[in-house]
Symmetry: C2
Subunit: 391 residues, 2 copies
């Protein structure tokens, strides 16, 4: 039996693979950029007016002469005729300055008479109210670096420089195998001795929460051969999550089935509650997480361990840890790290009741998992404890 910290360390050590995927821009939302993105264009792609006003040549102006307004340039239009000295053009926000102009005066800062204007703007200088070509990004320059998390604003930015696909660290493929003779599917009437299968649904929802979906869900009986077949069929996945049958009872057949499938055990049993019988192994590049069947243990192991491995693929940290003060005293026995369901408020974090590993009511209302360290017994109200947000 190893401590929680050792279990996490060994999982990370065994995550060797990741994959770079070229995704359409919108599908790359919330992924991490795998290769630097270089701008294919200057942005703005031309000297652009930042205001509704008049464009003119500041260089050829004596600071007082009036201008003749010759034409109008709307955003989206382009005028190739160069301005003559003391010629100005009516221009609008976003429009390209015509050749021979370098400065824009705001429409509020002119005096207009007939087809002429004079400038009444003591602040105006060369380049006023002009967004210079390439001032945001220059063609060929790095627009976003490797390792940058792509947010909606980042996507907007890349779209604006004409990028429509991007290389990101992609998702691992995940297979779920649920074991248990007692499991029946929702929608069927409950019969004596049976319970509704919920672990595949909880795990699917948790994967969905971070943008993943299982590529397969297999529900098998407590039968070693059936379990072994199910495992073997999924060994092409990046990860397999198995629930149930991982303890040491007569019908805990998963460890034996894993061994017969050629899976190499990395560890079995962790000093934690819930989820003590948690098993982790590998088969070539495939990571196998075998979790005890109790629903609360399944969800806890997902948030503490499986997510850690997924983050090694996607180069992301999910469900960040924080420290908050406890709102109540809390006591446990020494020897196991306890993960308890918590609820955060402005006062700190409160341990929710009903913590038995088969009870999920409190988990359903929790917004975080609180970690109470292995060797300690008493935690005092007001003391800062480590927690992981899970919403």
């Amino acid at each position: 039996m190893i401590p929680v910290s050792e279990a996490k360390k060994r999982i990370v050590e065994h995550c060797h693979s990741f994959k770079v995927e070229l995704l359409p821009l919108l599908e790359a939302n919330s992924f991490v950029i795998a290769e630097p993105v270089f701008s294919p264009i200057d942005t703005p792609p031309f000297n652009q007016s930042a205001m509704d006003g008049y464009a003119f040549s500041f260089a050829n102006w004596d600071g007082k002469s009036p201008f003749q307004v010759s034409r109008e340039i709307q955003a989206g239009s382009y005028s190739i005729d160069a301005l003559k000295p003391l010629e100005a053009v009516r221009i609008f926000t976003g429009a390209a300055l015509p050749p021979g102009s370098d400065t824009v005066v705001m429409q509020e800062k002119i005096i207009k008479y007939g087809g002429n204007i004079t400038i009444d703007d003591a602040q105006i200088t060369l380049g006023s109210n002009v967004r210079k070509q390439g001032s945001q990004t220059q063609k060929g320059a790095m627009a976003l670096p490797q390792g940058q998390l792509l947010t909606p604003s980042g996507i907007s930015f890349l779209a604006g420089i004409g990028i429509h696909t991007v290389n990101v660290f992609g998702k691992p493929t995940v297979s779920i195998i649920v074991t248990g003779k007692e499991l029946i599917k929702a929608g069927n009437p409950i019969t004596d001795g049976n319970v509704y299968e919920s672990n595949s649904i909880g795990l699917t929802a948790a994967l969905n929460q971070i943008g993943l979906a299982p590529i397969s869900i297999t529900i098998v009986d407590d039968d070693e051969t059936e379990i072994q077949i199910a495992i073997t069929e999924q060994l092409n996945s990046d990860m397999i999550i198995i629930t149930g049958g991982v303890s040491v009872g007569d019908y805990d057949l998963v460890p034996a089935a894993l061994e017969k499938s050629g899976v190499e055990k990395v560890f079995h049993k962790v000093k934690q509650k819930p989820g003590k019988p948690f098993y982790f192994g590998t088969h070539n590049q495939t990571l196998i997480f075998a979790l005890p069947g109790n629903p609360a243990a399944v969800m806890t192991c997902f948030y503490e361990y499986v997510i850690l491995a997924i983050g090694q693929f996607t180069k992301k940290e999910y469900f960040k840890s924080y420290s908050l003060p406890l709102t109540n005293d809390f006591t446990k026995k020494a020897g196991l790290t306890h993960y308890l369901k918590g609820k955060m408020s402005e006062h700190g974090v409160t341990v929710l009741e009903a913590q038995e590993s088969y009870l999920l009511n409190s988990f359903a209302q929790a917004d975080c998992l609180i970690e109470f360290e292995e060797e300690r017994e008493f935690f005092k109200k007001g003391e800062f404890v480590k927690l992981r947000m899970i919403i």
Copy 2:
């Protein structure tokens, strides 16, 4: 021109509608429950063994007599034959206790000889190692209340009591209308005077981030009639987001088009930077957000205002606010609330550079928006400022 706080207040006041949607359980992930969920069954649905061990009748035991082990009950099996006094059954975790038994002794706490066992467990009492029928949820009792955010653990819990659909506060329908003669689509070569359209893509990504998608995207020229037609066509949506053309220039045609479409203005112009020309109006139950066309202003208005209205439909708070200390001094002019892109660290929050509203580089790297209050000018390093996480 109204302050930020007044704009937010008026938006919330004009959000009257929401809809209750019956969704399959997995699709209800991260929605808020609209009607209390009652348990259709007891859980556990029978008295269930919590251990691998032996079930017997504690009531009929003298505390020392041996038991005869008559049969075995695996999880998923059921035995209808009532136990005789001093008869025990081999039982496994999750299995149903047979009639006439009330207690389980762990397999580690017995002495076995032939077909008999004696119990060696000083702690054992009536009901030990048994999860009583209905001890988690009772048939007909409330399993989760209205207003509960549905998490993966909540979904696992509901699946476990046999629930497979749930009534939640559903998503509003959102239409996007982007205006601007200068806009061209990604994939086309950039031509003189044109820029790539990115606002519909940034808004779509931001909607995706919270599980929504636009039901339509319309890109229209700076033409009042075209804009009016586009608006009229989308008035069946719960929300319309328009970008561009909302200021007061000759080609800012959106306010006039809105008026001709029968939209009632609630406000136009907010004391903020970026996004000063922001317009909000209604048409029957439809909410119309007309945002200035600068990409950074679009994203800022989305995270500060549009999201607020979406949350009125889904009964959720998105992108929560926090306070963190500034890592640098910051100075602005009084008169407008400034929203600046920030990056959080263990030291606090840092204002990212390049804040002009047409620049999105810094937004692409930001993880939060910092709010600098309207009336203030100087913000000191170490001072706590309000921010909204946007990742």
